[in-house]
Subunit: 515 residues, 2 copies
């Protein structure tokens, strides 16, 4: 039975809960409560105990906590990885989630130590004098919000998803309430145990709710922040909750989007960029069985290269093994049978606008597991020769599914990218920097992140699908209209910006550390 | 009959509309249509004609447009001021609205010319290398949103309210649709005529809707921005509109709030700060007849000074004349009889927690106008000796009304300030910089702007109630949770931030001006 960590103690629910099943075997892993919690008390504890305690330390003190925490969690990698297998994630997938999550802590620890002052005040720009005598000016500052960061996470990254929200909140001096998605909450619960145990963080700095969310949003105020990762429908429902809207609760959403990858016209078969494009597409289709909000859903290729790309992608996909994540396969299971059903339903819509050119969901090999009890699918490549169809730009199959489409020129590529109506990430793979620049700048207002990939940066590139702690993560419109991470930008998301007006001598005292 | 300016032409409605009355005399000034418009076509025109045309020019070209526009409008000051009187605004009030609005254009013109590059791309921070070989990095950039800025304005500042939203949008390269509040839309319409006439702006850059808003929000996409000034209820209704929420339309609200002013314990009667506090409070109660979202609603005074402050404020209020705005009075009329009724209803709630110590809404002199036909009120001062009551912190009378309250120490002053649950602005009046610093930093997370006032900066201070183009305007929670202005921050609000990853040589080309 998964426990919650509230008001400084672990709480075991009294109901029987409902079972959470191993993605690959269907065996029960844990049970999660069907009860609600006294969220008003939990949030109050965060605001009155956790927040003030965190802010006692100042940015640098908190950066030290993050570093200690990251080191401590690193010692527990083996148990995290073992439990991660049960979510359907292969060891490679688990590294993205677990090690990737811990690395966010390390990066924020390092940035906090190197780039932030003592105290709790960040300057925003310089003092600007307004009067001519030099006696009156304005200094914009950021101060930590006096509320709680309520973090509603998605099922696909039970560790990274939590830590990428937690790290900037902690560094800012804002306590968090973590609300994991049920399906994989057992892994989140284990990590939170390891976070709490060593006493590195002050009491109330992190709380965990493994329970129904009823009443949670009603307890939010204008001093709080609600951040959500999930579907567009979930994001919209939370955003319009009467208390969230009525109190103008800070809100950020990161929703799945129809991310694109665009191959340049120079990148014909045999070029390094051609291979990079194909390899990246297959990676994005298969990592986490394609259950990544950043995965490539739409692959745009110059029309004359479409057949070559299709052939190369199919060949590479042919080598992808699917099965129990512990069995040294390339691709594990989806998170649940319900997810698999959902992907197949969406695939049906996509193939109404194109045709399936690789993968047969009815016939594929599963290594070391039962294909019926586990949530398995093969990689599925759709080809759509007429991208004027709506489906490829609007229908997301949240699994190992991508659609290959032709385009004519840079301008059309940008227009197609924009038809995703806002995406988390896009990539341009080309050695022609004029082409890349044109597409990147044209597509930028529709994207939170864009990757320009070619032979000059491929060796060090972190890839299309990986948001770094250094880069903003989020995107406009369909992608939720939010923003997370981005280095210290993510810290400032947890702070209120205020314009302070007064005599420059007073303004100069604002960042003095008097602790 | 007020016209709309849509798709490059002025459109006269065919219905009879409803009358808009002179605030001081009750005479009809204009009529406004009760029909809707084809908003989808209007927004499409902005996105496909106005936006691209604006972005042809780059930041500096657009800064030049703003300057030319500001100069042109300055030539028309007399007619604006004459019409402004009919809104109930005195000539002094009119200067805040009209001249203040034009000065926003001048400031943005100047900032654009001095601080922005050519082209349409703004860097956000520096290029950060991620790999060790120096072949891969990230550069965050801002690019103009490819949509429309839909600007829903309030009745109290028909000129400034429009121009403070328009200036940053135009400089960013984003076309606007202006939706004025009905009551004072005639003044907005006149100014928009003068904006359009000289042909300084490209077609589609500014459109005006003097009509019912039905269908407007339904036509918004994730590429657009909706900014609203008005009541918290209006803001919440717009924020939760299914299309706005579902498409994650960028949203910013600026709502009336319970702004506070805090007198320092050092500022006893006879000190310069005591006088500054009293004078500023009276100014904020009477300018625009207190119809300012930034006006001081809660005045906090050290308990031992409460009687002295009350006496001084009452004395000063005693000299305030009320009447027809053309009659050289200190205070004009509220915008409408409905507003007056609303203020009186709110006053009733406030006096349940305190007592009226100055002004009698049933008995006061009105100079040069009929007290019944015009929307007049005298300045009304409430004293509440127990600030633990909820009303002074929650009930806003949007007129010449403030509540005087005692506090004990800096910590309690901060706590009381926070009970406004988020405000646009607060001020601290004290020569004790330690006290000021403590209150400013404590209150900052609850405020969008804070003014520190004392004898050293008073001569150049721009005052509690005036958001400068240089300072952010907006506030958390009750104040709407939004942000406008703040110099170039306001321009970036109209742009999408994207993390661009790639080889540093490519990243360096992003801001090259190739126009």
């Amino acid at each position: 039975m998964l426990r919650s960590y509230l008001n400084g103690q672990w709480r075991t629910p009294i109901d029987d809960g409902r079972p959470l099943l191993d993605a690959a075997t269907g065996d029960e892993v844990a049970r999660i409560s069907g009860e609600g919690l006294d969220y008003a008390a939990t949030l109050d504890y965060a605001r009155t105990v956790g927040g003030p305690a965190l802010r006692e330390s100042g940015f640098r003190g908190r950066a030290g906590m993050l570093k200690a925490l990251a080191k401590h969690l690193t010692e527990h990698l083996p148990e995290f990885h073992e439990l991660s297998l049960r979510t359907g994630a292969t060891p490679r997938d688990g590294k993205v989630d677990v090690d990737g999550g811990i690395s966010v802590l390390f990066v924020y620890a390092s940035k906090g130590a190197r780039e932030l002052p003592n105290g709790n005040v960040l300057l925003d720009g310089e003092t600007e004098l307004v009067g001519k005598q030099g006696t009156f000016g304005v200094q914009h500052v950021h101060t930590p919000i006096p509320g709680v960061a309520v973090q509603v996470n998605a099922f696909n990254f039970p560790v990274w998803g939590m830590l990428e929200k937690l790290a900037p909140a902690l560094l800012a001096g804002v306590p968090s309430l973590v609300k994991p998605a049920s399906q994989t909450a057992y892994l989140t619960e284990l990590v939170v145990q390891r976070i709490i145990e060593p006493g590195i963080l002050p009491d109330g700095a992190v709380q965990l709710a493994c329970a129904r969310p009823d009443g949670l949003l009603d307890a939010l105020t204008g001093a709080d922040l609600l951040s959500v990762t999930g579907s567009a429908a979930t994001a919209s429902a939370l955003r319009t909750h009467p208390t969230v809207a009525g109190n103008a609760v800070r809100f950020t959403a990161e929703a799945d989007s129809l991310n694109c990858s665009i191959l340049g016209p120079d990148a014909t078969a045999g070029t390094e960029e051609f291979d990079l494009f194909v390899k990246q597409l297959v990676t994005e289709m298969t990592v986490k069985a394609g259950q990544k909000c950043t995965a490539i859903r739409r692959a745009f290729v110059p029309a004359p290269l479409l057949d070559d790309v299709e052939a190369a992608v199919r060949e590479r996909l042919g080598g992808v093994t699917v099965g129990h994540p512990a069995e040294n396969v390339r691709m594990g299971a989806l998170a649940s049978l319900a997810q698999r059903d959902d992907v197949l339903a969406q695939l049906g819509k996509l193939t109404s606008a194109g045709r399936l050119v690789h993968g047969d969901p009815e016939r594929f090999d599963v290594v070391g597991a039962d294909a019926e009890r586990g949530a398995f699918l093969p990689p599925l490549l759709v080809r759509c020769d007429d991208p004027d169809h709506a489906e490829p730009h609007e229908v997301e199959a949240f699994g190992p599914v991508s659609t290959l489409m032709p385009y004519r020129d840079a301008q059309q590529a940008v227009a197609y990218a924009a038809r995703g109506a806002g995406s988390l990430v896009g990539s341009v793979v080309s050695a022609d920097r004029d082409f890349t620049r044109e597409v990147v700048l044209g597509a930028a207002p529709w994207h939170g992140r864009l990757l320009a990939l070619d032979h000059t940066d491929a060796a060090e590139s972190t890839g299309h699908g990986s948001p770094l702690p250094h880069t903003t993560h989020g995107g406009p419109g369909r992608a939720g209209g939010g923003e997370e991470l981005g280095g210290l930008r993510g810290v400032r998301h947890h702070m209120q910006r205020s314009a302070i007006q007064g005599h420059p001598d007073l303004l100069a005292t604002l960042t003095e550390d008097r602790s």
